[in-house]
């Protein structure tokens, strides 16, 4: 187990190195010139050249990359071009808001998905089942920004139940979390449904039923834990997905997370922030999968045996 985790950690480091290299190369190859952006339209060629030298942009690509890597190893993600501050602390300041949003979104997803999935599995072929199966397709086919705007229109503009945008009170979390959660819930429901149908057909469930246990107990204590495995893996994947996907939701709801930070940085060609957010997102994706892989054997002895 320890060896496995160690190997995965080394893999993680290598993947992050690769992500950093590709992002660096792409940003370097793009036609947008950060020095010119900072200097402004009316700047002379001399000013632009000065800024370029100051930022180290006149160095060869490999030298720049090496300097950047040295920074990362020391926990330094560089300095923002536009805001003149440390990228690490800029991102760190935004992460709590994004984590809160992600946690709330995953909560909505899992609760909704589990409930619907169990009902669908129990009433297989019934009306609820068919609606859930269809809803899972609608969920993956719906554009996130349209759902965000729709929820905003109905619950903030028309009904006035929740604030339009912003951050701070619990009411602010509801709509963005619902946007993230509702779309994913259908897929969870689908997986829970098929896992539950599998489990419910097994002998030990029949035994439990023969013993005269109540069906609530059979479902919650005996069947559900065995159906949880795909859900854990799915949550691991989602942590990474959300990290990149929050850009849209945060833009619509004015949520001050790293998605918004990234979006502002992209518009200002603030390369250090773009690099930083990409790396943090890649880290989240890898860690999400790693955590799911570590948790899986803890809840399922069948995997531990392998």
């Amino acid at each position: 187990m320890a060896l496995l985790i160690l190997r995965r950690l080394v893999q993680t480091a290598l993947i992050l190195l690769g992500v950093a290299a590709i992002t660096f190369l792409l940003l370097y190859a793009l036609p947008a010139d950060p020095a010119r952006m900072i200097a402004g339209r009316s700047a002379t060629a001399q000013t632009v050249a000065n800024i370029r030298r100051e930022l180290g942009l006149d160095q060869p690509l490999l030298v720049q990359f090496w300097t950047y890597l040295q920074g990362i190893v020391h926990g330094d993600l560089g300095r923002s071009y536009a805001q003149k501050t440390d990228v690490g602390s800029l991102i760190a300041a935004r992460i709590p808001a994004t984590l809160l949003l992600m946690a709330a979104g995953i909560l909505v997803e899992v609760v909704l998905g589990l409930t619907l999935g169990i009902i669908a599995a129990l009433r297989r072929g019934g009306a609820v089942d068919r609606v859930v199966m269809m809803a899972s397709f609608v969920g993956v086919s719906a554009p996130q920004f349209v759902v965000a705007l729709l929820l905003l229109y109905v619950f903030a503009v028309m009904l006035g139940w929740f604030p339009m945008s912003g951050f701070g009170t619990p009411a602010h979390v509801v709509l963005p979390a619902a946007t993230l959660g509702i779309l994913g819930a259908g897929w969870y429901a689908r997986m829970v449904r098929s896992a539950m149908i599998d489990v419910l057909n097994q002998d030990y469930v029949r035994t439990a039923r023969a013993k005269g246990l109540s069906s609530a107990r059979i479902i919650l204590r005996h069947a559900l834990p065995n159906a949880m495995l795909p859900i854990i893996a799915m949550i691991g994947i989602d942590i990474g997905q959300f990290m990149g996907g929050v850009v849209v939701v945060e833009a619509v709801y004015g949520w001050p997370g790293i998605g918004q930070l990234a979006w502002q940085a992209i518009q200002q060609v603030d390369i250090p922030i773009i690099m930083g957010v990409t790396l943090v997102s890649a880290l989240a994706i890898v860690l999400g999968n790693l955590i799911a892989d570590i948790i899986a054997p803890l809840i399922d002895p069948r995997i531990r045996a392998r």
């Binding site: 397709f137 086919s141 554009p143 518009q267 060609v269 957010v277 890649a282 994706i285």
Partner: protein, 282 residues
């Protein structure tokens, strides 16, 4: 024909198929159907206060903030969105097939290297990457298509790799090799045909993803640029107005949803029908 018949038997696949056919037909026939030019800023297309007109007999789905007919813009937007869907996804599937087949067949050092690269791309935050690329390149229809293709090939490559690995081990490949067939012959005449179902399924499912991604990029203002209409940028152009004129957001939104849903339904039905492991199971 067998495939078509099987699809017509499933209500959801039939629904998807009908919507896909209707959307494609309307996109092709856009100049014939559209009541107005999509770029025509009509003086009677705005209210006296200069606000967009709600749906009416004259303007079927209302007008946008510049007094253009929304229905006509949606029709021409369908062309943009579908072209990107087909081109971007076609390229993505082609790249995915190429890399997947090569790494699955070669294995060894080169195959391993290609697959590690694919794993690396899996860890890339795809949407973020697309947004960064689209924003920093000067956006145009083709750039958007390239960006989407660059992001979307990874999944196809993974699946094709797994399938190729399985195929290479099969006896008919061994037999072919012992008959003296070269690598090219095995790859193109024997392995590729077996991968066609996968390519068709992902070619369909991927269009849904691509249409959504294009809409998202355009919604952020970094996709297809106005005045050329696309479903996403129609929403982008009118989002600041959406409290007063919600139809400008929700008609295009509904069409994006319906189109993506239909491609997903058709793709899913194709997967059930074409998957060889499902064949002959009743």
């Amino acid at each position: 024909m067998r495939v078509l018949k099987a699809m017509l038997r499933q209500p959801s696949a039939l629904f998807g198929l009908i919507v896909v056919v209707v959307v494609v037909a309307m996109a092709i026939a856009a100049p014939l159907i559209a009541p107005y030019s999509p770029d025509n800023q009509m003086f009677d297309g705005l209210t006296l206060e200069g606000a967009p007109m709600p749906p009416s007999e004259q303007f079927l789905l209302g007008t946008d903030t510049l007094g253009r007919d929304l229905f006509s813009r949606l029709l021409f937007g369908a062309r943009t969105s579908l072209v990107i869907g087909l081109v971007a996804n076609g390229i993505a599937v082609a790249i995915g097939l190429f890399i997947g087949i090569l790494s699955g067949y070669l294995r060894g050092f080169v195959g391993g290297l290609l697959m590690r690269f694919t794993d690396l791309m899996m860890a890339f935050p795809a949407l973020l990457l697309a947004i960064v690329l689209a924003a920093l390149l000067r956006p145009s229809l083709w750039i958007v298509a390239m960006v989407i293709a660059l992001v979307n090939w990874v999944q196809v490559a993974r699946i094709v790799y797994t399938e190729t690995r399985g195929l290479v081990e099969r006896d008919f490949i061994l037999a072919e090799r012992s008959l003296g067939a070269g690598h090219f012959r095995i790859l193109f005449m024997h392995i590729l045909p077996h991968l066609m179902p996968t390519a068709i399924v992902w070619g369909t499912l991927g269009i849904a993803t691509t249409v959504l991604l294009e809409a998202t990029l355009s919604f952020l203002g970094i996709g297809v640029q106005p005045p050329q209409p696309s479903w996403g940028n129609i929403i982008f152009e009118s989002q600041s107005y959406f409290q007063a004129a919600p139809w400008l957001v929700f008609f295009p939104g509904a069409i994006i949803l319906l189109t993506a849903l239909s491609f997903n339904l058709v793709g899913d039905a194709l997967r059930d029908i074409l998957d060889p492991t499902q064949r002959g199971r009743g």
